[in-house]
């Protein structure tokens, strides 16, 4: 029997825009030999019930990720800057539209 391993094709990440006005969101991944097939497969796999009006497929190898695990010091600089949030500021009572 022909092993399944060799013929799976590269992995693609699929992003779907569910409707106009919203951004594309990661839906999942799939295997396909090329971009055209990846798009068709993504349509059949992720939009069988009108879940999308636009699809992006990206070779999984083209995704550059921030860090090997998802809580490293990379994001630390944001942790101690509460003054970037509006709730940090005290405003006198009764002041409106602020």
């Amino acid at each position: 029997m022909n092993g399944a391993t060799s013929t799976e094709g590269p992995l693609w990440e699929v992003f779907v825009r569910s409707r106009r006005g919203l951004s594309h969101t990661h839906a999942g991944s799939l295997h396909a030999p090329d971009a055209t097939m990846a798009l068709r497969n993504a349509r059949d796999l992720y939009t069988r019930r009108g879940e999308g009006v636009s699809i992006w497929v990206v070779p999984a190898t083209a995704v550059i990720a921030s860090s090997p695990d998802e809580k490293d010091p990379f994001f630390d600089p944001a942790a101690d800057k509460a003054y970037r949030h509006p709730t940090f500021y005290e405003i006198p009572e009764g002041v409106k539209h602020l």
Binding site: E8, P33, D34, A35, R48, E70
Partner: protein
């Protein structure tokens, strides 16, 4: 292992435990215990295999569906099951296994699929019984998996559960039509329920005191409820549904227990379950043969597609679908 590495592992284990016990989600690139990874691979692979093997008993009736409406519905359902398999193989691949490798293991009989699919679909009413009972039992099992501690598996389950509800309803509607049809149709519906009821109850797995993986899976929050708990929930859901169908559930011991506030039901024949698991069910051999044959028959399609892709990329250095990528694509964030 050096002392530094050992300390690392202890820290990582502590981080992992903290995320899991805080109802957080473990994501693919996080550190995880080897046994957690192995358990997930085994469970997700078995689940994926079940989805694609599960296409066979129903696909058996597509050409003989009694109306165009029923045929279109059945095709859509079987196609959904293929999709469920793909979502799940995708989730498994985030754990550093290869889909091809998992399929090879299925084909070699080294990984399992749900034993429910080793029963035959003898009549059209079986399509209804599968939708109502088999998809119904699957939903009862799968809804808690939407909160599984492993992110990609949980996300796949959310997608799957949304689609399953149509599967169950179309089966129920089909049985309802038969049950309220001619006496012969009613008898056919009853016969299907008689044959599928007990195997459906077995889908929840062995009783709690014999379930080997349960405790650890609960601690890891892969599993949320015990086999017996889910089975009981399913029985309680089905009893009133069977009444509306006008069909009887084939269990003389089934009755409401006022004190427990739930239904008592009869003893399950676990020796049958073990037999089917061991490969001695009515259709084990046929299902696996058909899967292997389908895979081999599709080889030329995969090879042709790969050859086309190779030729195309040699001819154009550009993207195969240049023109669809807009400037916005570059800003994907």
């Amino acid at each position: 292992m050096t002392t530094a590495q050992a300390t690392d592992t202890v820290d990582q284990q502590a981080d992992f435990d903290a995320v899991v016990s805080a109802e957080g989600r473990i994501e693919p690139r996080d550190w995880m215990p080897d046994a957690y990874r192995a358990t997930l691979v085994r469970q997700i692979a078995q689940h994926a295999h079940s989805e694609i093997i599960g296409m066979q008993p129903e696909a058996n009736w597509i050409t003989r569906a009694p109306s165009l409406r029923r045929k279109a519905i059945l095709m859509a359902k079987v196609q959904d099951e293929a999709g469920h398999g793909l979502y799940l193989y995708g989730a498994a691949e985030t754990l550093d296994v290869d889909r091809g490798e998992l399929l090879d293991k299925l084909h070699a009989g080294r990984q399992r699929y749900s034993s429910i699919f080793n029963y035959p679909t003898l009549t059209w009413a079986d399509v209804g019984a599968i939708g109502w009972l088999v998809d119904g039992a699957a939903i009862t099992n799968q809804v808690p998996l939407c909160r599984c501690s492993y992110g990609p598996y949980a996300r796949a389950m959310v997608r799957i559960c949304k689609e399953e509800s149509f599967h169950q309803r179309q089966g129920y509607e089909l049985l309802h039509a038969l049950s309220h049809g001619t006496p012969a149709q009613h008898a056919m519906a009853q016969d299907a329920v008689d044959r599928w009821w007990w195997p459906s109850l077995m889908m929840f797995g062995p009783p709690d005191d014999e379930s080997s993986h349960s405790e650890q899976s609960m601690a890891w929050r892969i599993k949320r409820h015990s086999n017996d708990e889910l089975r009981q929930r399913f029985v309680d859901i089905c009893v009133p549904q069977a009444e509306s169908l006008g069909l009887a559930l084939p269990d003389p011991d089934l009755r409401w227990n006022e004190e427990r506030g739930t239904h008592d039901f009869g003893e399950i024949d676990w020796s049958e379950f073990q037999q089917v698991l061991r490969g001695n069910g009515p259709c084990n051999e046929q299902r696996l043969d058909q899967r292997r044959t389908a895979h081999e028959n599709g080889a030329w399609v995969r090879e042709a597609a790969a050859a086309h892709a190779a030729k195309h990329s040699a001819r154009t250095s550009d993207d195969a679908v240049s023109g669809t990528a807009t400037g916005e694509g570059a800003m994907a964030g």
